[in-house]
């Protein structure tokens, strides 16, 4: 079989000089292609041209919105004080438990972003001066630390390589040293979107348990919850935070939080000032289907539609799909001869893949040319890894063929940026894997029964 491929590759080289000879294209159109004659020198504003096709969106959020969700959000103005609202909102809060993997937690929805969710997690459970322990291994963990400090918390930061996850052994040390149990919370970014790293929350939980430490476990699940396996109850998370524009695949605008009874207990004594992001106003009103201020109805409808899709798929299948997508992407990276920023297999994220360009190349060029030539939106390298990596998001509303186009686009952009990559070397690996592992879409079995 290999020789057949080789033969075709040789044929391909031979054909290069004959390009477009097999064509009925009229002369005048040929000229357009072959001449340097791009359209008349544009004086139009930058980025104002709308190309055919579509923008290919592969950043790790905002993500592609499912057509069912887009439709559901197309609503005229509505009054959330109309009598239908209470039951609807109670159902929203109940349905939302699906993605947190909880039956016992209390879900809360704020109009806001994941950043607001962070703030709510901290201010509702902690008081200025409280000791917290956390990890820094990317921009988002860094920004959460910055917030902790600005809120007056006493933060112990365990520094990590950008590309690694939460070091459980280092955490164990810190907890062991805290003989007086002064540490009030351990804060972990579950999936670091800067680096493509998924930390191991069950191991963090075990570490806390092994130390017999009562600290709260606060988890940023912004780019994991709804995509990766998440077990709020089983892992005994105390506050978990996510945002609507990530795995839920609706537009930005909802900060979604889940709080344990222990967290709600801590709330009673936490003195951090809070009003907008106060759980208490929600807890007072939500049980009767009320809200302390105006909800974003279109996004709630979008959330409802999105949760319906996830429920229909089943959360274990959702996680399996993300794994299969990610694994295909990682094989493509191998095919290119490149490597992911995350080295340790146990931490490689199924939400996004962060790829290092070889030394001497600028990853920003890859991202720029992908957008300029192929209308492909890739994630740029942020902060410490600016220019060194680019990111492919594959979380949320995503399937194999969508992701295959991102891989094709990334290959072309890599070549454009001068990175020595053989066209097809990556995507061929991905589709081989997907072909072997993909299952028939439920309810379509009849089409392949005899095969």
């Amino acid at each position: 079989m290999l020789s057949a491929v080789r033969a075709r590759l040789q044929g391909r080289l031979l054909m290069a000089s004959m390009t477009r000879s097999f064509s009925s294209l009229p002369a005048e159109v040929e000229e357009v292609i072959s001449a340097a004659s791009s359209p008349a020198p544009s004086v139009r504003p930058a980025f104002s041209h709308t190309p055919a096709g579509r923008n290919h969106l592969f950043v790790p959020g905002p993500v592609n919105i499912h057509e069912n969700v887009l439709r559901a959000m197309q609503v005229p103005g509505q009054n959330h004080r109309d009598p239908w609202f209470a039951d609807f909102y109670k159902k929203c809060l109940q349905d939302l438990k699906l993605i947190f993997g909880t039956k016992e937690g209390t879900t809360i929805i704020f109009p806001g972003t994941g950043t607001g969710g962070w703030e709510s997690a901290l201010t509702n459970t902690l008081s200025p001066g409280d000791k917290v322990v956390t990890f820094r291994y990317g921009l988002f963990s860094h920004l959460w630390i910055d917030m902790m400090q600005r809120l007056g918390l006493d933060v112990t930061v365990i520094e990590g390589r950008w590309g690694d996850g939460a070091y459980e052994d280092r955490l164990a040390e810190v907890l062991r040293a805290d003989t007086e149990k002064k540490i009030k919370a351990v804060c972990v970014v579950h999936n670091e979107t800067t680096t493509g790293v998924t930390s191991d929350i069950p191991e963090v939980r075990k570490t806390l348990d092994a130390a017999n430490h009562p600290a709260l476990l606060l988890v940023d699940g912004v780019s994991s919850i709804g995509a990766l396996d998440f077990q709020f109850d089983r892992w005994r998370v105390d506050v978990a935070v996510t945002g609507s524009q990530k795995a839920l695949s609706i537009p930005t605008g909802l900060a979604m939080v889940c709080a344990s009874d222990k967290a709600l207990q801590a709330m009673k004594t936490a003195t951090s000032r809070r009003v907008y992001y106060d759980f208490a106003d929600m807890l007072r009103t939500n049980p009767t289907g009320n809200v302390p201020y105006t909800p974003i109805l279109p996004l709630l409808y979008g959330m409802e539609a999105s949760l319906k899709l996830l429920a229909e798929e089943g959360m274990p299948n959702v996680a399996a799909r993300h794994h299969r997508l990610a694994e295909g992407c990682r094989r493509a990276v191998e095919g290119w001869g490149l490597q992911t920023l995350c080295r340790d297999p146990r931490w490689k994220s199924d939400s996004l893949t962060v790829i290092e360009v070889p030394a001497g190349f600028d990853s920003q060029k890859v991202v720029d040319v992908a957008y300029a030539k192929y209308n492909l939106s890739l994630g740029i390298g942020l902060a410490d890894v600016k220019g060194k990596v680019f990111r492919i998001g594959h979380l949320g509303n995503m399937d194999e063929l969508m992701l295959s186009s991102a891989l094709c686009g990334a290959e072309m952009a890599l070549v454009d940026a001068g990175v020595p990559v053989v066209p097809g070397s990556g995507v061929s690996r991905a589709i081989e894997y997907w072909q072997q592992t993909s299952k028939v879409i439920p309810t379509r079995e009849s089409l392949v029964q005899q095969q």
Copy 2:
């Protein structure tokens, strides 16, 4: 370079047994993937499951609708007798000339489909018993012939191989034999959507001219106009017909026709009965922005938005884009070791590619499994080539990365269907070509200036 590829291919084989060892996926999710455990045996109705991602639409019409067009069509009910309508409709008719390549033709829009457009072309210019000459080389040319016969025309059919285009030499013979110039019209399907063949209308024109024959030239441009080069005036076409769901990339529902003065002259004596599809009612009302019956306003808005995109791109660039897309697709077919149903390079369509599966394989299985496993909609083999070919549409609102996902999906489906194709062997050829020929999207030049 070849050896590097070979090395990677070998590595790929070695890795096959190690699948998913590089993973932090929790055990319970692993089970879902590895077990034969697909979701609980479905008792849900066939095709009722909504998978994540999107349907990947690659039939040669209906085609993918641009988001600008979708937005434009989202209108509440409106009154076409309101005073704004007249100017709007006159503009619609004027703008539409762009895709026909005409300044002198008269454009007419019927609420209907391409089939209705065919009927209007025939009944407005011909009388029962009139002699017409045409070609049969696919289902659509066949259906048009069927219509001609049912309308009482005296049809001379030049039969062709399915996969060939209009034989100009055979036409020349027929015209030469018609010494009394009894033939009233030559009817040609420009792009035969069954076979992926684009006939050469300029050559047909030349053939008519060479015979000094006054017959009308009626052209079905349903799957060409708006995608391929079309020059109504220069080619002296008399009636050209297209439909909204093809290159215009809006939903089905508009039959769009362009008529020459010669055709409108013929109308005066044509006795074929016609009312709904009568040009005359349109010609009486359209010049003042009126219509003889209710127009489909959302589709007109969609048409306006679509024509705006095409005008911005420029029709020569539109044709060049289609050629580049098609050429990439044809290289992929070569990469697979397969061939297109159309053999003669001068006839290969830039609207769609029709691919033969090797003898002994059933192309329907490829299409079925593509839909069942990858949510990919390919065109089936129709009529005489049922089971023998599958079709990839790449006309209208389409770009390289979209088409690359179709190629990836087709490769996987070919493998699933047992056709001996090496994953990546086709798509690698396409993206290599596209990388070499793609230009920067206008107004995005600043992103790649230093490269």
Copy 3:
């Protein structure tokens, strides 16, 4: 109570001179109101300004589209040859029977308009030269007659006053005179949209039966079916025709037809030439969920959503709602001291109300000023009643408060046009009636239980 009203009316006159004295409006804004200073003399194109609020659509089709329907139609391109389509389409045809009031009829959907539906009804059941009887009492009955004649039928026209319905006695005479039963069809426009007249199809049926006449009964139900009571089976209609933009309240583009077995029998011998609008191609393909040419998918989704709303409401309730709306409108007309073009109560349409302006006034001015000042789209007077009447459509997706705004707007426009109407004199009558007859919306009973 009357004296209280009188007192208030007097107070109103007193207040006229004090306008805007009760106001905190700042001086600069006052100026804008009081000055002749409309915005800077516009050089913008006619009708290009988008006013706040909405267009108030009260023509008798196209009508207001329900938000559920708008949402359902928001779909990307889709392939009607995908395997899900067959069941979907069969369901469409089945569901459609609801509005025809049929179990035994065969429903057919053409991409087209009501005019196309007319053509299909005639050409599939009749042959050139066939005798038909029909009535002319408005523009639409006139246009159908024109079509009959152009199709070569031998038409006996019973002329009627514009404002009257089908004269059953005159029909009886014609049928009685046809001793050889040469008349092949009786054609009736059920609801004449020019005049606001609903003819009595059951009486027409009785007349045919009384004459023991075998003629087919062909009914134009374009502006009745789906709004008014319609009983295809019970009335033994042979072909009934409607269009999507009327009572179904979706955009224009679907011609929907229902045919009896007798009509399908007639089809076998009918020699009128037909292809696009041939029932036979539909009958051959539809039973397996196929179509002879591309369907308009978004409109089918809209139809599905609309039929779901109608089914939920229940067709008797739908007819009752239309009656209640129409009755309110008619009372408003009385309140204005005007009269409807339709004089005979048994014929007054519940789909629309056509109102005569007093002699010496131009109804076009009412319509023009309604649009110019209040963004209200009323129906103009057509053909013979141009300038004499204006029309208020209240069919389809409509409720009392929507219609009340049309009545308010019509009152203002009548005053603007110089017609001596007292503001409030009509709408007060309508809302008094509606208040007395409106019921609680199903599933909202709990809100008014103690009242």
Copy 4:
């Protein structure tokens, strides 16, 4: 003229017994209307039925969304780190200045609600323990006070009658007493949505100036900005706050703030803890078109579309329209013989009208029956005026005919609730006024030129 009206009213009474005698409605449908037979006793969930027509939304926010805005928001997922975003966002911030009436202020957009805007205004300019003065005259001013207290401010509350506005004399006293100028801010709710009161910000400004007091002027313009006259620069407001679902007429989700240089100066020393709602992160990133966390793109597109409509109309015309709408509504209230909660003409709001029901009646019944029978959403009485008032919102995307339907619905609901109101007594007053004061919609002048 009065006698004519009287005569008609008498006729109306006579007709009451003859209802529906003028009808061709078939017997079976009549039954549905006349019988107590509402549809089969519903076992469906409360509020699950979707009635024909539309929900009539007349709460003072969320308000009716213009179709242009709905369309603009219909966007798939997009990446705000793509290079087009920076210019777009800078334009958003610039365009937004229109509704604040500012050239010198700095506009900031938070993903959040008006409540979040309040928090940002307070925490960015003040420190715990700071003295502020404010007024309580409704639920929203109360809630803002509650927030001030929870944020640790030292609040002096000037209590007012619910229905009155800011007492400038009382403020003057408080300021005069503050000889040490310890008061850091005066906080005023411009338009109190509970009571329909617009306080006089220019007078408040004058009061501050007269006292030569340096306190900041913080204004809640949630239900005024974009609807009523607002002059940030001229009135020397320091922070003004609004929300997207009010006059801007887009969905909830954007808290929009404008800050003066003086406010930004105060920010530097303000020690209130803040992160999510910190101006500083915005001021650091916005000037280059960046944001500190993910923006809500669909709402920004909606904002852009909405601001375009407002700019086209011109802000003075927008304020004039609101005044005309409100004045019509107030005349209707007079016509009903009722009164607005706001007594003093200078304070009557042009955003909404709050109407007292007579003693002995429950306003909640009016609101309930309006929703239950007419699908009309009115604002309920809140807090201290619960059961005593109902509210009609007429801000934002609103026109005369929309509001007329609310008046009609309110009349019917008042009658249903037993309040002695004569049908038509209010709406007749409103439309008489509107007919006299409405102007031709720009660019439609040609329709009425000869009139």
